[in-house]
Symmetry: C2
Subunit: 422 residues, 2 copies
């Protein structure tokens, strides 16, 4: 855990708020806050270390109705709420009584992140990266993306006045391509999968062409990743300042899951919630389930795979944070499970039919895994449970292609009756 | 204005909160609160009459972060926040400095209602209709819809445990059809346009087949319409309890515009905002501009048209509230204007490029009309202005079909350079 007991190096108006350093997750080596992401000594990932001031429930509740209510827990300037930013967050925590009843759960909530500005949780991470990019003086925002991030970066760049150049694997869903392109930045498709795209971005970052570019999920990754902590903060606050007993989180790179754990730990350390046990469950699509496979086999290392699933937003075959995910799920008493494409589509429809939430395929993965874990006896049906929907069904329409009109009729009561609709 | 000075007929736990009656907008005849929508005497539309209790800024600000913070101003039960409902509202009021600079405006905000649960303002009106349907004991929710309403009704019915049967004109955008169908209710396409669909629903309501059905925009219309008032409340609250000097609102049936005016008037009457002048401007697509045409020609009556525009959510050729819209725009010193399909698409791209807001075609209409009114000298560039985006670009992807990848390349720096991207 990166809560450190030292003083911030500069005044309260420091551009990174309570953040004091970058520290290596593996060897603990510390670095000045800057656009770097890997340890010079052990190549471990860097993350943000903080020296938090006094943060109370009341101080948070008086904040704006978006992630900036947690500005005192994030690497952002104190005046962040006044800067041009997409201001995501405080998405609904839906009390899912009808879905709970259907599954035989006592208490279930859906954290529905489709309510964010570009309708995925990626707006959270990008919002933090934008502030870092501003501080570092980058002029172009960039990323490698499975689709949702592309839209989030395009929109945020437009709002904040950056140029943008976004890289996606060829063959993404039309809605994600259009949404990434409509903001007017450059959108480059890579002839390959996400892992190829990501590798290319790492090359570009060392090249002259990538000078002055902030790659939100590469050289800005330590800041970017912190955005996912806000999911933990919001869930706890929306539950009435309590931790859920069980939470199901999708795994792409695995970063989100590790940051939600970090967020819960920070809330406990700061005395904002009681230190009650929580179990974290990771969810993958069978067609891209390297972490779930490692879990099943009791391995500590992740064997990369070539993704083949409709859950394209989770299609990262070589998930950087996979080992940390295994640790966290083990430590908290959770598990990692996977569902196939048919189960994903069924789960999308189940969630829509019972709760009026139209989830992206990633939401089908988590809801499907929720159902599977219950069936397998790995979830306690009496414990308070939260399941994440991180994206929007409108972006993965093909998944529910069968959903269409019941009938087409002439505008008359006779036609209505003849079609058997009366 | 329907602020009446009488006492509520029942206690504070009355199912309709501060609402005391329905009253005819034309002749003032009053009716008990019930599932009725037209005056028995003059056939005028009925609207909700209230007896408001004490409502303060503080009492509102202590409420939940959705439209139920205004429950004391709506025909809903006091405990509405605890009932299963989509809980829309409190969508972002985006400070649009970059768009303002590009257009030469001093102060501009975009009220971005794509942040609602099904990504259009329709969630607001349906949320109120659902509560009325619950009180009246209806078992099926229904509507005629140009698309957005269909999704909002489908989702709300699922959340609240109603059956649903929704009617749309054939030929709607794919995203709207899928979104309406995915919640598992019945979705019936009518071989005709929206006005045909609407007429058919009016027939059905008198038929046995429509018994126990709450048509949100027919027999529940007086309640439904009140949901649009929350746009006025939110804009004023989000501006710091002030009315904007100028506001641009899309016109479909015209109901939304009339209710925003009603909302502003209520805030003034209740002393929640200062009584400062505001001008209301109506926006239509040239291909369906009966109200704008009447305005141009100085007519009081609306000549129905056959719609032909990409702005399908505004494609109501015979807008029921057209005459009231003309009155309000005249009274407040506003105007009604229209833009053609090319201008709509340009405006969608302009809004996306400058503010990262991806609007539906209806948002292209309002943004396009904003630009046109400025060019024509009908808007004061120094006055505080708000423009509405009532829907989501993901639902009208075809409008920006040209938006796609800049280039597709192999994952190498050489390919990047060869494509002229460096």
């Amino acid at each position: 855990m990166a809560i450190v007991a030292e003083q911030p190096s500069t005044s309260a108006t420091h551009s990174f708020g309570p953040a004091v350093a970058l520290s290596c997750r593996e060897c603990g080596e510390r670095y000045e806050l800057g656009p770097r992401f890997a340890c010079d000594f052990c190549f471990g990932p860097l993350e943000v270390a903080y020296s938090f001031g006094t943060v109370t429930r009341a101080s948070i509740e008086q904040g704006p109705n978006n992630i900036w209510r947690y500005a005192a827990l994030l690497p952002v300037p104190a005046n962040v709420r006044d800067l041009p930013n997409m201001n995501p967050g405080m998405t609904p925590l839906v009390r899912a009584d009808r879905l709970a009843a259907e599954l035989g759960l006592r208490s279930l909530h859906v954290k529905d992140d489709s309510g964010n500005p570009t309708h995925s949780f990626k707006d959270r991470v990008v919002a933090i990266a934008v502030e870092a990019a501003r501080t570092f003086g980058f002029t172009t925002l960039s990323c490698s993306s499975t689709g949702n991030l592309a839209g989030a970066v395009g929109a945020a760049a437009a709002r904040a006045g950056f140029k943008s150049c976004v890289f996606i694997p060829a063959g993404l869903e039309e809605a994600k391509v259009v949404m990434a392109a409509v903001y007017g930045g450059r959108l480059v498709a890579i002839d390959g999968n996400y892992d190829d795209t990501n590798r290319f971005c790492s090359e570009l970052i060392g090249d002259d062409a990538g000078q002055d570019w902030g790659f939100v999920n590469v050289n800005l990754r330590p800041y970017y990743g912190e955005g996912s902590k806000t999911l933990a903060y919001e869930i706890a606050e929306q539950l009435g300042w309590r931790l859920p007993a069980q939470i199901i989180i999708p795994i792409a790179s695995g970063s989100q899951l590790t940051k939600i754990d970090k967020g819960f730990q920070e809330l406990i350390a700061l005395g904002l919630v009681e230190d009650t046990p929580y179990k974290i469950f990771g969810a993958q699509a069978t067609g891209c389930s390297p972490v779930a496979k490692a879990w099943e086999n009791g391995h500590d290392v992740i064997q990369p795979v070539k993704p083949d699933t409709i859950a394209k937003s989770l299609a990262i075959g070589n998930p950087a944070d996979g080992p940390y995910v295994l640790d966290i799920c083990k430590r908290t008493g959770g598990a990692v499970a996977h569902v196939d494409d048919t189960e994903i589509v069924d789960a999308i429809r189940l969630l829509a039919r019972t709760e009026g939430v139209f989830a992206e395929t990633a939401g089908g993965v988590t809801t499907g895994v929720l159902r599977k874990l219950l069936a397998d006896g790995l979830l306690d049906p009496d414990a308070e449970t939260v399941v994440l929907n991180t994206g929007d069904g409108l972006k993965t329409l093909n998944a529910v292609q069968g959903a269409g009109v019941t009938a087409t009729i002439k505008p008359s009561l006779d036609a209505f009756r003849a079609a058997g609709l009366a």
